[in-house]
């Protein structure tokens, strides 16, 4: 996949969306006795949003550009060999 040029923006969008979806006024919309597949919609909603954030982050993490000059593990000590 093509790396995102302005990766931070999409992460921010997902984060803001996540926070919004988890705020009381939005969650409260699902506080009702309805059920789906025998599971209360409130539970489905909460865990659904949770899963959405996980999948979204996984997709974005793959597409975000690699860091410039990141520090990988330190080189092995010179006197050590495999």
């Amino acid at each position: 996949m093509r790396p995102l040029r302005r990766g931070g923006d999409s992460v921010l969008a997902l984060l803001v969306l996540g926070i919004w979806l988890l705020m009381p006024p939005v969650i409260s919309l699902f506080v009702r006795p309805a059920e789906l597949f025998g599971v209360p919609v409130l539970v489905l909603y909460l865990f659904g949003v949770w899963l959405l954030l996980i999948v979204g982050t996984a997709v974005l993490a793959r597409r975000l550009p690699p860091d410039q000059g990141h520090l990988p593990g330190l080189p092995r000590r010179p006197d050590e060999s495999d």
Partner: protein
């Protein structure tokens, strides 16, 4: 039922397994076989040290009491990891670049390598963490007693009074031994505790496996399916809890803060991070771990409420549910899972705290009391190792003591959130330090202090209510001052105690932090560090050497390195650096860069503040170059400005492109007009030329032409040449007028006299065309600014037009003048057909004769009106076509010339009166 011996044996075997895993991982890592130990999955699993026994047992208890509220503790960290790109990525980069050994070290390093700040953070961390360790000891003790009990009453939970403190003691001892063995093998922050991390990762798997196993058992074996569980009446009770309010937000925020600020999380996420790219995987894998951890929490809580005997402790449902159904193996697995979650927290927390205590409390004292003046190789290292081992023992003892003293109250139950709120005090100075250049040491210190005090007063103190603290403090306030009641500070009562404490402590903390940072200037080192931290993605750390110039004797440095790092490692480090400088044998040159690198190396071992102090002891002539630093700040600024400029430029380019397009459009229009004009001129020239050529050819070729006819043809040729000349004159005239090359001096002149002259000139023409030329009402004497001959030209043009184009049977042309609206106005009116509506718009354009119905012989080229208007405008006046009269009214075309009056021209009396009446 399991016997205590079986449980004990299993637990010991499990601990032995952990030792083996840790031992072999360490050995593999030391041999360079990092492989699995350094994988992102191990990294993610180790971060799950966040899920302690408070999660393992407590989440179900919380769900049974408060429904979905338990989820906030895991949603907060999920959000932080979703936004990893902004905070965690920066935190890890800074931690690695500056070799931060703990969160205290990072904060201290950011604020000018401040000793006092490190001490304060360490103290808060110890106070916040010790009760949490006690909580783990209690959980292990309780669960051990439950699982190993022989009576069914144990299913109700073990009453606090019956807790067997010996279990807690031996757990503490065991953890201390493990931590000391694997957590203090070396002192360098960047030489990770591979053994510990591997063991923690294994424990993470065990606790998750145990939770999922018990979850599946409860849902499918006991409950009979997901739908059935949620159909239980207890389900409605659990989900009916009203939890979506301020406390929901506060708890989510608090847990998000905790995942960043908890010392053990910092230890695992930042200090033990082996590769920054691992964060990319952890960003989604850790939230997934939390998700799976919470998946069965609700079903277990619901089933527990529905099936366990009344009075059972919900905090033990995870364990007691399988026990109720005599599932010994599953119970044992659950016990081990809970044991894992408790021990992993204790191990990592005590390592993190011991590093902080040894680096930020023992080291500074040692430096001040000159314990280390002996200068023996490795003395600092051994002091640190010893102090870390003692710290671990002390911290665990402290935890145990806390456990003993609070074991018989329920104070521990709430300690999880209280600890979170305590370490949340690090948040303002941590975030400020990462993103705000001006954040200063004074601000950080004051904010932390007030936040900590407020937290202790409003949250920690009330947790002891009924014990050592008199109840009157809470009902009346200290010394009877109601405004200072711990749970209703400044009279803000009626709030959830946690929300209340969090609000006051964090707002006072952040407020003071910002205020003092704005007031107080930073010292040079602070300013340097703030730039290196905030702009970490732009500035490599080794730039530091550009700003701090210092020199030292290489021998002194070598001795220092030997003391801190040990002889062998110091030798290797110096040899490597010497080779990099091109020196094959001997010591490296003590360059500024080398000293900076050495200081960072030391910081990884003893903390930034102590490293700086120790380096300063052997360094001479240190100067921090402010100029260089300003340049660094400038460079950063330049990069920002440059990118802004680029953005601006591209906007400007767009604007320019648009302007060019518009200009091009105008040019194209002008070009079309020019083409049109040339084509018109061509037509106007070719028509008389055609006559001239045709008649000339007749004259040349026809021998027998009658002389009368020949004379007529010659006169036509003559007329046509005159017409051509007139046309060219007009074109030139108009061209000059339009280009404004004609410079006339405008002079006051008698406009009425000029009009009279023009009328007289046209009388002959009118008579020969049988047109009646009538002079209507006149303005009387009027002076305007103008050019006499040119004005005459305009008048004649308009009168002759009216005469020529009048197709009426009894043609009449009327000329009248007046002063109106402060201007001299002359109106030329005929009784012809008027200007056709479709031609009105273009009669003032060049060659626009289209409105004439037929063309009389002596009509001009159609430039007359254009010229007249150009002349009038030169005199600041205008020529306009007035609106058409009604058809049949006898009014044809009406043209009006208007000119401004010359200055000093008095308006006629009538005009004045009319104006006065307005």
């Amino acid at each position: 039922m399991l016997s205590a011996n079986v449980v004990l044996f299993t637990a010991l075997a499990y601990v032995a397994l952990l030792f083996v895993v840790a031992f072999f991982s360490d050995r593999r890592a030391r041999r360079g076989w990092l492989g699995l130990v350094r994988s992102p999955i191990v990294y993610t699993l180790s971060i799950s040290v966040y899920c302690t026994s408070w999660t393992f047992y407590g989440a179900v208890g919380s769900a049974a009491r408060n429904g979905l509220e338990f989820a906030t503790i895991y949603l907060g960290p999920t959000l932080v990891f979703v936004g990893w790109w902004f905070l965690l990525r920066k935190l890890v980069r800074i931690g690695r670049v500056h070799r931060a050994s703990s969160i205290a070290d990072l904060i201290s390093s950011r604020y000018g390598k401040s000793m006092s700040l490190a001490v304060l953070v360490t103290v808060i961390a110890v106070i916040g963490t010790t009760p949490y360790i006690a909580l783990q000891l209690k959980a292990v003790t309780t669960s051990f007693q439950v699982v190993a009990s022989t009576t069914h009453t144990a299913l109700l939970g073990i009453p606090e009074a019956d807790l067997d403190l010996r279990t807690g003691f031996w757990v503490a001892v065991g953890m201390a031994v493990f931590t000391i063995l694997f957590g203090t093998r070396n002192i360098d922050a960047n030489e990770h505790h591979h053994g510990v991390v591997a063991a923690i990762a294994l424990e993470a798997l065990v606790k998750l496996f145990a939770l999922i196993a018990v979850g599946l058992y409860v849902v499918f074996a006991i409950g009979g399916g997901v739908g059935e569980v949620f159909a239980l009446p207890a389900s409605a009770k659990v989900l009916g809890a009203e939890v979506f309010g301020p406390r929901w937000v506060a708890l989510t925020f608090l847990s998000a803060t905790a995942i960043v600020c908890l010392p053990r999380q910092f230890q695992i996420t930042v200090v033990e991070n082996a590769d920054e790219e691992h964060l990319r995987t952890a960003a989604w894998l850790f939230p997934l771990y939390l998700f799976l951890t919470c998946l069965f929490t609700l079903p277990i809580a619901i089933t527990g409420l529905a099936t366990m005997p009344a009075g059972s402790n919900p905090d033990m449902y995870v364990l007691t549910l399988p026990m109720l159904h005599d599932r010994s193996a599953l119970s044992l697995l659950v016990f081990i899972g809970g044991f894992s979650s408790a021990t992993s927290m204790v191990i990592v927390a005590s390592i993190a705290l011991s590093i902080m205590v040894s680096n930020h409390i023992v080291m500074p004292i040692a430096l001040r009391l000159a314990w280390l003046s002996r200068g023996v190789s490795g003395d600092v290292k051994s002091l640190l190792l010893v102090s870390r081992r003692i710290s671990i023992a002390l911290i665990l003892s402290l935890g145990f003591v806390y456990f003993v003293f609070s074991a018989h109250s329920d104070a521990l139950a709430k300690i999880g959130l209280i600890a979170f709120a305590g370490v949340a005090q690090f948040l303002p100075c941590l975030i400020g330090g990462l993103y705000w250049h001006r954040a200063s040491k004074g601000g950080a210190f004051a904010g932390l202090l007030i936040g900590f005090v407020t937290w202790a007063y409003t949250l920690l103190l009330p947790s002891f209510e009924g014990g050592a603290v008199p109840a009157s403090l809470f009902s009346d306030g200290p010394w009877g001052i109601a405004l200072l009641r711990p749970e209703a500070l400044f009279g803000a009562g009626g709030m959830d105690p946690l929300v209340h404490a969090l609000f006051w402590s964090l707002s006072l903390n952040a407020g003071l932090f910002v205020l003092i940072s704005l007031i107080k200037d930073q010292n040079p080192l602070e300013r340097l560090q703030s730039t290196l931290f905030v702009d970490v993605f732009r500035n490599p750390a080794d730039k530091e050497s550009r700003f701090i110039h210092r020199s030292a004797a290489i021998d002194d440095l070598f001795v220092l390195a030997q003391r801190i790092l040990g002889a062998e490692q110091a030798y290797l480090l110096f040899r490597d650096y010497a080779r990099r400088q091109g020196i094959e044998e001997g010591l490296p040159r003590p360059s500024t860069e080398f000293i900076a690198q050495l200081e960072r190396q030391f910081a990884g071992s003893i903390g930034a503040a102590s490293a700086r102090v120790m380096i300063s002891q052997v360094v001479t002539g240190e100067t921090i170059s402010l100029g260089e630093m300003m340049r660094l700040v400038d460079e950063t600024q330049q990069v920002i400005e440059y990118s802004q400029q680029l953005e601006q430029k591209s906007q400007q380019l767009q604007v320019t492109a648009r302007q060019l397009r518009e200009a091009n459009e105008r040019l194209r229009l002008l070009d079309a007009q020019k083409d049109d004009f040339l084509s018109q001129v061509s037509h106007e020239v070719r028509t008389p030329m055609a006559s001239i050529r045709s008649f000339s050819e007749i004259l040349l070729e026809t021998r027998d032409l009658e002389s009368e006819q020949a004379t007529r043809f010659l006169s036509i040729i003559h007329d046509e040449t005159l017409r051509l000349t007139r046309l060219l004159d007009e074109i030139l005239d108009l061209s000059h007028l339009e280009r404004g090359e004609l410079a006339w001096s405008l002079q006051p002149l008698d406009a009425e006299a000029v009009l009279d002259r023009a009328i007289e000139t046209c009388r002959g023409m009118a008579a020969s065309a049988d047109v009646q030329l009538v002079v209507g009402p006149r303005a009387g004497s009027v002076r305007v600014m103008g050019h006499e001959d040119r004005l005459n030209q305009v008048f004649i043009n308009l009168i002759s037009n009216a005469i020529k184009h009048n197709r009426s049977r009894a043609p009449v042309v009327t000329v009248s003048s007046a002063i109106a609206e402060g201007r001299y106005q002359v109106t030329f009116e005929d009784n012809g057909e008027g200007v056709p509506a479709e031609a009105r718009d273009r009669i003032f354009t060049k060659f626009s004769r289209a409105w004439t119905q037929s063309r009389p012989r002596d009509a001009g080229a159609g430039l007359g009106l254009a010229i007249s208007r150009a002349i009038a405008r030169k005199m600041h006046g205008d020529v306009e076509l007035l609106p058409a009269g009604r058809p049949g009214s006898g009014v044809g075309a009406r043209f009006r010339v208007s000119l401004p009056l010359a200055r000093g021209q008095a308006a006629p009396a009538g005009e004045l009166e009319r104006r006065a009446g307005e």
